[in-house]
Amino acid sequence: MRKILLTSAVFGLACAGFLGYQTVKAQDQELSPEEEIRLVQEFNRMMAEGINPGELWAEMGKEAFKKYNLDKCDFGLGPGKIEGALAQLPRYFPDAKRVMDLETRIGWCLQKYAGMTPEQVKKFATQCWGKSQCMGEYDAIVMYVSMASNGQKINVNLKDPQVKRMYEIGKQIYYTRLGPWDFNCATCHAGQREARIRATKLWSIDRPGEAGQAVSIFPKYLVRWSQPMTMHYRYAECMRQMRWPTFEPHSDLAVALSAFLYGTANGTEIKVPGIGR
């Protein structure tokens, strides 16, 4: 509890500017929004140099992977084989009779091989949500498994009718206006014009390659919370910002979005972990 309190104070520091206390020099105002977008991207490139702190989680994940018997888990390439696993997910799993993405599959295996109940899995998967500097075993496992696909190209099998069906459902959800703030995913992540939310450039499903750049780096280390964010946590946070109800990880909604996003990102090289604000 105290830890959160303290780190929060640090974020407070970072956010002082937003509240308008910041003195902005005359020269700063001359920067056009376009120029600022470019400079913020430059900042992100600089952050990506060196060792990504997210890699610390992979070390922990290697141990947790064994601890929870996930070496028995088949990610589609045979029990325990994780090299390239992320690149070919989501896929259909006959044993579960369901299309699953990486995190959904991990959740299923935690039930089957680690004896967790669905409630325990959910608690395990969301233990670091809404926190900072949280070192959760779930995030660590996802990081470890994801990094084993580094260098491989995303290759979701859209010829499989089950996967294709989830892709199409995901696509429709992407454009579904819903909730008390009328958002859909496309509100922020579509269109040709470069726009930003505050200082953050928004990727667009309509600009070639950007969906790939966005998803191929998950889990991504977030400097504002000093911890990685998995794809399902990303979905949850987007939906919270969209003012939709609280997102359920490992749900068909997550799988449908993953099928659409990773399917759209086919051909992009996986580079995990990414790093961002």
Partner: protein, 147 residues
């Protein structure tokens, strides 16, 4: 814990800390000058800017929590005692200092620092002959994301 509330409190705290000097009369020393005098034993205005120090920082930082900074110097490491990093407007302007030896082969440091608001970042080299040289760059700290 109430993260948002602390965020706000933090912001207020920073505003208080950083704006306090501004209200003081003009002859009062800034927190930065105080720190430099205390730690380096020298007045800030006695330190000369030099092009021999290459200070690489972003022009705009999307988050003040993690600002990449890299310092390189053309000055031989044998002549260098210590490298100091300061951020003018942080509640504690001193960030870090590194002592170098000839075995380093070169003056170099790369790390990530916190910045409370738009401010100058300073890399100061303390030389073996007792003098100091410095490089200064401004980083504009902005805010990203949905809020």
């Amino acid at each position: 814990m109430d993260r948002r509330r602390f965020l706000l409190l933090g912001a207020v705290a920073v505003a208080g800390l950083t704006f306090a000097p501004a209200i003081k009369p003009a002859f009062a020393v800034s927190k930065l000058e105080e720190e430099i005098k205390k730690r380096l034993g020298v007045e800030l205005n006695a330190i000369k800017e030099t092009a021999e120090i290459k200070l690489t920082v972003p022009t705009i930082a999307e988050s003040g929590a993690n600002v990449p900074i890299t310092v390189e110097a053309d000055i031989p490491v044998e002549k260098v005692e210590r490298l100091w990093i300061f951020v003018d407007k942080n509640p504690t302007p001193w960030i870090a200092d590194v002592k170098f030896t000839p075995q380093n082969g070169q003056v170099f440091l790369s790390t990530r620092i916190k910045m409370g608001e738009t401010s100058n970042v300073r890399a100061i080299l303390q030389l073996k002959d007792g003098t100091f040289v410095m490089a200064t760059k401004e980083v504009k700290v902005t805010v990203g994301g949905c809020g």
